[in-house]
């Protein structure tokens, strides 16, 4: 069993300023501006985790049920991956029994 975790790419620089995130692929740029919901999703993603975990954090932040934001978060994250700012890393899932 595997999980896909979302990570900010090692060659991405980013700065959060006054609620807006500025993120740039290194070394050439240019910087992208992520405002509003985009910044919320980025900051949730910066904590790491799967798409489901990121979606839940965003839902908690904006005070909406997860199912309401799921499609928008998925679309936005796909855009970040396409831009090279975020990568998906496949890691082995921890079997439930290992927590026993």
């Amino acid at each position: 069993m595997t999980d896909q975790r979302l990570l900010i790419a090692a060659r991405t620089a980013w700065v959060e300023r006054d609620g807006t995130v500025y993120a740039a692929p290194l070394p050439d740029g240019p910087p992208f501006v992520l405002a509003g919901a985009g910044a919320v999703i980025w900051l949730s993603l910066a904590e790491g985790g799967t798409l489901e975990e990121v979606t839940q954090r965003v839902a908690d932040d904006v005070g909406s049920p997860a199912e309401v934001v799921t499609a928008d978060v998925a679309t936005f994250v796909a855009g970040l991956v396409d831009a090279g700012l975020v990568v998906r890393r496949t890691v082995p899932a921890v079997p439930a029994s290992s927590h026993d």
Binding site: A13, Y22, A24, L26, P27, P31, T75, F76, G79, L80
Partner: protein, 286 residues
């Protein structure tokens, strides 16, 4: 979801530090980030005032860094020998990141740049700029760097704002440590210029260079002082030659276009004529 729009200058500068670090890493070159957001909190009141990126590069890595910068869209605006009489920094521009100053040595620490860099590198700290780890001088060394910079940029109507946090307000013990670092990096006279003690070095040829900045002077004063400070005939000839060389960048600004070879030749003859006459009247070759 994303769009390219105006990025506030302080944010762009911080991201640019990260971009330069990424290229330095790729080239395997050591750089120290100085000034602006690289400065330790408290040593400079307004880090957001930075308009460009400043790095000091290990002298042996200058060519490699300049090559990788050029390969990634950084355009040289002024070459190392086109700026100040110290020949210390090249100025570059990038469409995404703005301005960058690459220092191959630091004015005041220029007697043995490799040793000075080693000294700063051996006690370096690291800060995250754009969430990328970037090497910076440790805080006392940052103070020395800022003080040496303040010595070259007199502040009209009073002390340079960097003087208080880096010298006046520091403890006597800190000031002694900064003096010791200055001695180790060949910056004793430059530090004296920054802290108002240049008179202690009257007669020292190096002091003449800093007097130009502290008390004012033109480019010829600057070159004359550099000539006096140069040690030995070979170094003096080098300074004299460089002082007469045509600066293509500034000639281009004056002409409004890239100078042609004949235009450079004409300017060379003019400078040599004027320069030899002026230097002959103002300096001694001993």
């Amino acid at each position: 979801m994303t769009e390219v729009v105006e990025v506030p200058l302080p944010v762009r500068v911080e991201l640019a530090h990260a971009a330069v670090q990424a290229l330095a890493d790729e080239a395997g070159v050591d750089v120290l980030h100085i000034k602006g957001p690289a400065v330790h909190p408290g040593l400079r009141a307004h880090t957001d005032a930075a308009t460009d990126v400043d790095v000091i590069v290990r002298p042996s890595g200058v060519d490699a860094l300049m090559a990788i910068l050029a390969a990634h869209g950084w355009r040289v605006e002024t070459t190392f020998d086109a700026g100040s009489a110290f020949d210390h920094a090249a100025n570059l521009f990038h469409e995404s990141w703005g301005m960058l100053d690459v220092h191959r040595h630091y004015p005041g620490m220029d007697r043995d740049p490799a040793h000075a860099f080693d000294r700063l590198w051996s006690s370096r700290d690291s800060v995250e700029l754009g969430h990328l780890p970037c090497a910076v001088p440790e805080p006392l060394a940052q103070s020395l760097v800022l003080l040496l910079h303040s010595a070259r940029t007199p502040h009209p109507g009073g002390d340079h704002p960097d003087l208080a946090p880096n010298w006046t307000d520091r403890t006597p013990q800190d000031r002694e440590l900064i003096k010791a670092l200055a001695a180790d990096t060949g910056a004793t006279v430059a530090l004296a210029a920054a802290t108002g003690h240049l008179d202690d070095y009257q007669g020292d040829p190096e002091a003449a260079v800093w007097e130009v900045f502290v008390h004012g002077g033109d480019r010829l004063d600057e070159w004359t002082a550099r000539f006096r400070a140069a040690r030995g005939p070979r170094a003096k000839v080098s300074v004299a030659w460089r002082s007469l060389r045509v600066n293509r960048y500034y000639l281009g600004l004056k002409l409004g276009h890239n100078p042609t070879r004949p235009e450079v030749a004409v300017e060379s003859v003019r400078r040599i004529g004027a320069g030899v006459k002026a230097l002959a009247g103002r300096v001694s070759w001993r």
